[in-house]
Structures are given as structure tokens and as C-alpha cells.
């Protein structure tokens, strides 16, 4: 009898399990059957009297009412969406045609681009976006993405075949050409690369050919077209890829589009399973690696069901592209809105709104101030050393210093910085500190050599005035040198100011000062005009302070000379 409660519990458990399993077994069907039923129901509704005239019509029913589907496609994206006259071609276009054929309706294409595709969908001027759109968490709030994804791209680094770049370790300190707003820019920046920004991806291949860019980063889907050209493929190759992002068709995020979304989900599943996407990709000569892997996934029994598109084991997650906001992002947005409302000026402060941007901005300011202080100190130090050497009576000390000064004066500032960086990187592994150190040494040498020459010339005039003999008139050499420094105060100050003004150029060798930081921020955020205006104000203010400090320094030196 004691066993009876236990037996009852076991029976109840078995019964509950059977009940829970039964509906699944009963309703699980193939995606083909589910799609056929969905289409049949929608067609039946569309053929019912007065249905097609109803407002807020279900969008799948409307497709059958109008006997058309309106895909939004691109017209200038080689291999994916192009148009020559009335002829459209590309992977996206052919996928849209295949969808329309499966629904037995006509495709009516509408031109979209990256900026217009979501607004056109929201305005109900297109039924589905099929326009190289990456699926990320930010866009999930704007549109309803179709699962499974119909393609996947990644960002690739392209450069000359002879260039030995294999991974992130080879990227540090190099300049990479990118397009503004590319989601992968933040990742490139985090590996200590410098960015050269362009508005349009279309210019990147030409910039590579003209050797303006040594390396360029863009979607592999974009470069696929250029690698078809034998000349381009012979000169350049893919170095490595990163930041894979699945591409999704998308419909409006409204209840009336739910059935259309469901139909497209099922069609996407079937197209993967049956190799339809794969065949279209081959016909358009786009990469097929992702599609081959997906075909295997959607042929698996657990995925090849009508519930496959919601099975997390089968579908890919959206790319998490959201940047962590700062604690004060809300107040910054309020200030931006307040200024825009009163002035009409589109005022944007991206450096205060996300944590990565805020971190780059703070570090940029600190590094800029370190650079300015370092460049001033190095200029003064090299001025004293080179001034002393050039004033020496010893030939072996004087002439190498003079020759070095001539070489430094003959080298353009950018070249001197690059040489300093190349030597520093041959000694130390690349880091931000090494780049800042190399920039300080280069700026100090360039300006210090000129200031040192002025000191040496002042020393020469002092000696001439005092009879051309070292120490004549009871003045020790060190004291005479001090007077030469005082006499050349104007020149020294002018080269100190020059050194401070030259510090932003350190960004050219990857020193993460403010210009470099703001370039990185604007590569993944908006607000370029405000950002660079603030940058200009910052550096002018810094130089004005340096000018004031140098004025005080000059007065002290001149007062010292007058006293002597």
C-alpha cells in the first residue's frame, strides 16, 4: 500500500509528459506543408468579396490581392543589386524573384539604399527589404527580420599581395581606409590601427589601386566583385576577415505583416534546405561558404520542421552592435535637442554618449596634454644639448651636431615622425606609449635643433663681443652659455610654440592623442562637424596657454640677460 502514492506520482508524470508531447507530435509538420497552408488560407481570404478593399489589410493577403510583391533592392551594389537600363541583376534581386515565383505573384522592384530602406518599409512603400542589410540588435527594434538569414558577410582587410599582413598583430600602427559608420571600425581601432575615413565604399578599390591606401576594410560581399577583375585580383588579396554579420530580409514590425513574415521565414528555410539560395549565389558568383553550411543545418531533422525558424539551435543570433551608453547619455541628448530646437543647428556630441567613445575621448585629452608637455620639455632639452655641442670648440663635437641639425631641418615633419616611429618599433613592440614617446623625441629633435642653432649663434656673438676667447673677461663658459640662452630667448620660445602646435601630427604615427581619438569616434558615430570644431577649439586653447607660458618664460630669460 505504501508503494501506491509513488506509483500514482509516476503514472501522473508519464501522463503529463504524454499530454505535453502529444500536441507537438500531432502538429509538427514540414515547412513545406505549413507554407502551403499559409498561402492557401491567404489566397482564400484574398478571393473573398470585399476583402481586398478593407483598410489595414493583412500584408500577405494584400500580396495576393494585388498579385504583386514589392521588394526594396539596391541598384549600385555589384553582384547583389545592380541595374542597367531596365535590367536588374544580382543575388538579392534573384532571391526576390524566387520568392515572388514561389508565391506565384509578380515582383515590383523599388530602389533603396542603406539610408532609405527602413523608412520606405515603415511608409509601406515596399513589402520586404532585400538590400544587403546586416541583422544587428539595434535594427531589431525597427524591422522584423526573417529567419533564417539569407546570406552572411564579414569585414575583410584587403591589401597588396606583397604585404605580409596575416592577422591583428600585423595591423598595429598601420593606416586602414574605411567608410564612415561601418560597424567594424571600433574593432579595428581597438587593435591600434589608424583610420583614414571615406564617405563611400565605392572609392576604396580606386584608393588601393592609386596606392593612397595600403590597406582597406569593407564587407567581403563588396570586394567579391572586384576580385572577379583579373588585374585587381593579381595585385591584391584578402588578408583576413572578422566581424561576421548575418544578412536578413525584413518586413515591417506591425501585426498586419506577421503572416507575410511567417511565409518568408518558411520560404527561407526551404530555400536553404533545397539549395535554392546556393544556386542563386553560384549564378551570381558571390561567396557560398555560409550558404553551404546553412544547407547542412536546414537539412537536419530538428531544423527541417515548421518550427525550425524559432529554434535557437538552427538560427543565428543577431549581431550585438549596441554600444554601452554613458551614465549621462540622456542628459547629453537633452542638451543636443535643446540647442537644435533653439538654433536649428544639428549639434551632436558623440564622445559623451557611449562608453567606448567617452573612454577614447578622455584618453585622447590626457595623451594630448602629455604630448604637449613632453614636446616642450624635449625641445628645451635638445636645444640645450645641441646648442652646447654646436658651441663647442671641439671639431668632433661641433660638426656632427651641425650636420645633424641640417639633416633635421631638411626633413619634412611627417618624415621625421615616421623615421622616429620606425626606429622605436624596431627596438620596442608597438604600443601607444611607444608612439607617444617617438613623437615627443621627433618633435623635440626638430624644434630643439633649430633652437639649439639659435643658442650656438648667440654664443658666437657673445664670444666675438668678448674677444673671441672662451672664458675671456672672467666669464666661465657655463655662465657664457647661460647668457647665450637668454639672448636667444625669442627664438627658443618661438620653437617651443612650434613644438606645441606640431603635437597633433603625432596621430600620423598612431599616437592616441585627441585628433586620433576623435577620428576613431567619428568612424562609428555621427556628429563630425561638432566633433572637429571642438577639436580645433581645444588645440587653439592649448596653444594660447603655451604662448602665454612661453611669454612668461621669455620675460624671465630677458630679465636674466638684462641683470647679467
Amino acid at each position: 500500500m505504501r508503494a501506491w502514492p509513488t506509483l500514482r506520482l509516476a503514472l501522473a508524470g508519464i501522463l503529463a509528459g504524454a499530454v505535453a508531447t502529444f500536441p507537438f507530435v500531432a502538429t509538427a509538420e514540414t515547412p513545406d506543408a505549413a507554407l502551403a497552408k499559409l498561402i492557401e488560407d491567404a489566397r482564400a481570404e484574398a478571393s473573398a468579396p470585399d476583402t481586398c478593399a478593407k483598410p489595414e489589410l493583412d500584408r500577405l493577403v494584400r500580396v495576393f490581392c494585388d498579385n504583386r510583391i514589392r521588394p526594396g533592392v539596391r541598384e549600385y551594389y555589384p553582384l547583389f543589386g545592380t541595374r542597367e537600363g531596365q535590367t536588374r541583376s544580382g543575388y538579392d534581386v534573384d532571391v526576390a524573384r524566387a520568392l515572388a515565383r514561389h508565391l506565384s505573384v509578380e515582383p515590383v522592384f523599388v530602389r533603396v539604399n542603406a539610408a532609405t530602406r527602413v523608412p520606405l518599409l515603415a511608409d509601406d512603400r515596399i513589402d520586404v527589404i532585400l538590400a544587403t542589410m546586416g541583422h544587428n540588435t539595434q535594427r531589431d527594434g525597427q524591422v522584423r527580420f526573417i529567419r533564417p538569414h539569407y546570406y552572411q558577410s564579414e569585414t575583410i582587410i584587403v591589401g597588396p599581395r606583397a604585404l605580409p599582413v596575416k592577422g591583428w598583430a600585423d595591423i598595429a600602427g598601420r593606416t586602414i581606409c574605411v567608410t564612415i559608420g561601418n560597424g567594424s571600425n571600433a574593432q579595428i581601432v581597438s587593435h591600434n590601427a589608424r583610420l583614414m575615413l571615406f564617405d563611400e565604399a565605392g572609392v576604396l578599390p580606386d584608393q588601393l589601386r592609386e596606392e593612397t591606401c595600403t590597406l582597406a576594410a569593407q564587407d567581403d560581399s563588396f570586394f567579391d566583385y572586384y576580385f572577379i577583375e583579373p588585374d585587381f585580383a593579381n595585385r591584391f588579396d584578402k588578408k583576413f576577415g572578422f566581424a561576421q554579420v548575418p544578412w536578413g530580409m525584413a518586413v515591417a514590425r506591425t501585426a498586419s505583416a506577421d503572416r507575410l513574415a511567417r511565409a518568408l521565414d518558411l520560404m527561407s528555410q526551404i530555400f536553404h534546405r533545397d539549395g535554392v539560395f546556393l544556386g542563386i549565389a553560384r549564378a551570381n558568383r558571390v561567396g557560398t561558404g555560409f550558404l553551404e553550411r546553412q544547407r547542412a543545418v536546414w537539412n537536419r531533422p530538428e531544423c527541417n520542421t515548421d518550427a525550425g525558424s524559432t529554434n535557437s539551435a538552427c538560427v543565428l543570433p543577431a549581431l550585438d552592435a549596441a554600444l554601452q551608453p554613458t551614465p549621462f547619455a540622456g542628459r547629453v541628448t537633452a542638451i543636443e535637442d535643446w540647442i537644435e530646437a533653439r538654433t536649428g543647428v544639428d549639434f551632436s556630441l558623440p564622445m559623451f554618449k557611449t562608453m567606448p567613445a567617452w573612454s577614447l575621448f578622455k584618453d585622447g585629452i590626457v595623451n594630448s596634454l602629455i604630448l604637449v608637455a613632453g614636446a616642450l620639455a624635449a625641445t628645451l632639452l635638445f636645444a640645450m644639448v645641441l646648442g652646447g655641442l654646436q658651441s663647442s670648440r671641439r671639431f668632433l663635437l661641433r660638426w656632427p651636431a651641425r650636420a645633424g641639425t641640417i639633416v633635421l631641418q631638411s626633413s619634412p615633419v611627417v618624415l621625421t615622425l615616421v623615421i622616429a616611429a620606425a626606429v622605436a618599433q624596431a627596438i620596442f613592440p608597438y604600443s601607444s606609449a611607444v608612439a607617444i614617446g617617438a613623437a615627443i623625441v621627433a618633435l623635440g629633435l626638430m624644434n630643439g635643433s633649430n633652437a639649439g642653432q639659435a643658442i650656438a649663434e648667440a654664443m658666437h656673438t657673445l664670444r666675438t663681443e668678448r674677444g673671441s676667447v672662451q672664458g675671456t673677461g672672467g666669464i666661465p663658459t657655463i655662465d657664457l652659455f647661460g647668457r647665450a640662452v637668454s639672448r636667444s630667448a625669442t627664438q627658443i620660445v618661438s620653437f617651443l610654440i612650434n613644438a606645441a602646435k606640431g603635437t597633433p601630427i603625432a596621430s600620423f604615427i598612431g599616437a592616441p592623442e585627441l585628433l586620433s581619438a576623435l577620428t576613431d569616434i567619428t568612424s562609428f558615430a555621427s556628429g563630425r562637424a561638432t566633433t572637429y570644431t571642438l577639436l580645433l577649439v581645444f588645440y587653439v586653447a592649448v596653444v594660447v596657454v603655451v604662448v602665454w607660458l612661453c611669454g612668461r618664460f621669455r620675460s624671465w630669460l630677458e630679465h636674466r640677460q638684462a641683470a647679467a
Partner: protein, 212 residues
Amino acid sequence: MMGLHIPADFFRDLLAGMVVNFEIAAVALLIGLALGGLLALGRLGGGAVGAVATTLIGLMRAAPTFVVMFFLLNIIPRDATLFGIGVSPSPLMIVALSLVPYSASYVADNGAESLKQLRAGSPLGALQFLPNVTRAFFVLVMSSSAGAAIGVTEGIAVILREAVLLPALGDKLVLFAIGILFFGATLQAGFALMRLLQRHLGRLAMRDQAIP
């Protein structure tokens, strides 16, 4: 270093790049002469105009060229038009414009000094403006290498794109030395021209003083 191979067209490209440096400097100096001349006149005029001119000259002196270049590159829209005509400057023009604050403030400072000399009855003193402008021109040629940062194919950009393909530091240093030689020769030739001008003006001054 033993394997250093410089392509045959490198020197042709380098010279073509240096021509771009000269173009940038010439444009920057021409605009600087016009703007700086006006500022110099304004400063000498005194009053409110003089104060405004002096403030502007001070701000232009303080503006770092490299920052001005990125500022212009990012605030001027690519499709900017004026009366229906596209006015968006090319990258070369942006580099030239970024050098204008320096050239205009330099011209204003030296122009004001020359005008003072002229008003004091010393035309030869005023003519010292010419060697000073020559010096500024060659400083601008050297500074125009900043254009390499925004993709302008000037002399230094040509050297850097070749250097990036060289793995050994020794080879790179040889290439950089060639760059210094080319730019250095240009700079020293410019300064020699300036000294020649100064000497010529000096002789003219001596001859004027000798005439009773």
C-alpha cells in the same frame, strides 16, 4: 639592406609628388598674401578694425595646421554648392587651405613691418618682405607633407607607400634618406635663393647710402 630594390618609376613618382608639394605651397601662399595683406592693413589702421585684425592674426598663429586640415576635411560637405556650382574642395586644396592660417598670419606680421618701413621712408627696408616670403614658401613646401595623412599623393606619400613594402629597417632608412636628400636639396636651394635676394637688397641699400 642588400636586397633593397627601388622600382624604376619611384624617382619619377617622387618628383611628381614634390610638384604637388610646390602646388600646395603656391596656393597657400597666394591666398595667404591676399588675406594677410588685408589683415596687415587692418592692423595698421588701428581702432576696432585693428583690434579685430590683431585678434584674428593671433588665432591664426595659434591654429595647428594638422588640426585645421582635418577640421576642413570634415566640416565641408562633399556635395557643397554655391549658386549651383560645386565648391567642395579637393584633398589637395584642403591641405593648401589648412596652411593659410600660417601663411596669412606670417604675411600679416611681415607685411605690417614692411608697411611701417615704407612709411618711414625706407623702401629697401620694406623690400625685405620678399626674402621673408620666399622663406615662408619653402616652409610651406615642407609643411605640405601633412597631406599624406588625408591621401594626397605628394612627395612624402610616395616615399611612405614604398617604405611600407620594405620589411627591413635598414632598407626603410635608406629610402627615408633619399627623401631627406630630395626635400633637403629643395629647402637649401630655397634658402640660398633667399640669401641671394637679401644680399642683392643689401647691395642696393649700400649704393643708395653712398649717393649724396
